[in-house]
């Protein structure tokens, strides 16, 4: 066993050096970025054109994302959002780490969110916080290294879901969630997506299909844009 532990020590050192990991938040950042990619992939599969802009309305030259809750109008850094355009439909934006006003009037952070560009633009112009009913979709991402997600996260998610849009607020995690999963299965079964990692293609496809369904419903339910004479 001693020789094996020596090998383990070397392998751990090599992996840590290769990934330059500083803390658990780095993992969460990358996981949110991965899920952000799944949302964009779903939009593209539904026929959207996608491009990227910063908070000042310029085409992005690199990607800059928040890791702690922020306001959609914050210009401290050129934060990036994706712009999604379906032909003839209102344009959408995808944001990371932006706050929304819940039904109670309290601002909540959404790890990832999709909302109409017109609302996002108005909020940027007048420094306003978008409202829960502006959301097309909200996603809570959890990358956990423990084998079970804490119960309080499930409780927090149920609270968030009540404050936002129940059907289109998703809980996405990299692992099976144990007791927290039981709570979510009982109260938010359509919103719970566990084990969403690239290595599990089936789960990943399920998640992407859920995002596609939201975009598909959006296309069907929204009228075509009015054409100015």
């Amino acid at each position: 066993m001693s020789a094996l532990l020596d090998e383990l020590k070397d392998a751990l050192g090599a992996t840590i050096t290769a990934m330059s990991l500083t803390d658990a938040s780095s993992l969460s950042d990358q996981y949110e970025a991965y899920i952000f990619g799944l949302i964009i992939g779903a939009a593209e599969r539904q026929g959207a054109s996608v491009w990227y802009e910063d908070v000042n309305g310029n085409r992005a030259t690199y990607f800059c994302f928040r890791t702690s809750p922020g306001y959609i109008y914050s210009r401290r850094l050129p934060y990036t959002h994706a712009v999604i355009e379906f032909e003839g439909k209102p344009t959408l934006e995808v944001h990371m780490g932006v706050r929304f006003l819940g039904k109670s009037g309290v601002a909540h952070e959404c790890d990832l969110s999709v909302l109409p560009r017109s609302v996002a633009q108005q909020c940027r112009d007048v420094c306003a916080i978008p409202r829960h009913d502006d959301l097309l979709m909200a996603i809570e991402c959890k990358y956990y290294v423990e084998s079970r997600i804490s119960l309080f996260l499930a409780r927090a998610f149920l609270g968030l879901q009540t404050e936002l849009r129940k059907r289109e607020t998703f809980f996405v995690s990299n692992i099976e969630t144990g007791n927290a999963g039981k709570v979510l299965a009982r109260h938010a079964s359509d919103s719970r997506y566990e084990g969403i990692v690239p290595d599990d293609e089936n789960q990943m496809l399920l998640m992407r299909a859920a995002f596609e369904r939201v975009f598909d419903n959006f296309k069907v339910s929204y009228r075509n844009l009015e054409i100015e004479p």
Binding site: M19, D29, Q30, T67, P198
Partner: protein
Amino acid sequence: MDEHDLQETYRDIMGILEHSGLDWLIAEVNQHVAMEKIVEEKHPGYKEVLSETQDNVRTIKRGRLSSVTIAQPYNARERLELLLSAIEQALIQSASVSRAAADFFVEQSQKNPNLSPTVIFDASQPGDIETDDRERTMPSRDNVEAHQAAAETLQGIIDRVRREMRDVRAS
């Protein structure tokens, strides 16, 4: 591996993590271990009955088996499994997440002229004045490939540790 070997291996691996600067990972595992596991067990239930022979005398009697939920400490084998699993999530599974994310940003930069695949995460808090040291950059594709190669080696070793745990249990 007997109970003592399992405990010793757990301590050794914790020591390696500490030496490698992964204190946050140790803290997460410790927190999980401290929470204990929730298990359901069948135990005889109790019911309160009135005596048929003596008026108003109540007694508690054993009834049917019923499920009760209890918190139990993890045993040495479970603790070691939790630790190995945490290492897998943090250091190995994260390689494929990084890879998928890096591939996505490279692909998007190829579709969008003048868009670099560089990704910066702003970790500053509202009210922070200096932000330079609070920016994290997502690993490049080269870094991700190095991470994946190292993670595969690490996975092989963790699998061998698990085999040792299993082999001794079977023998």
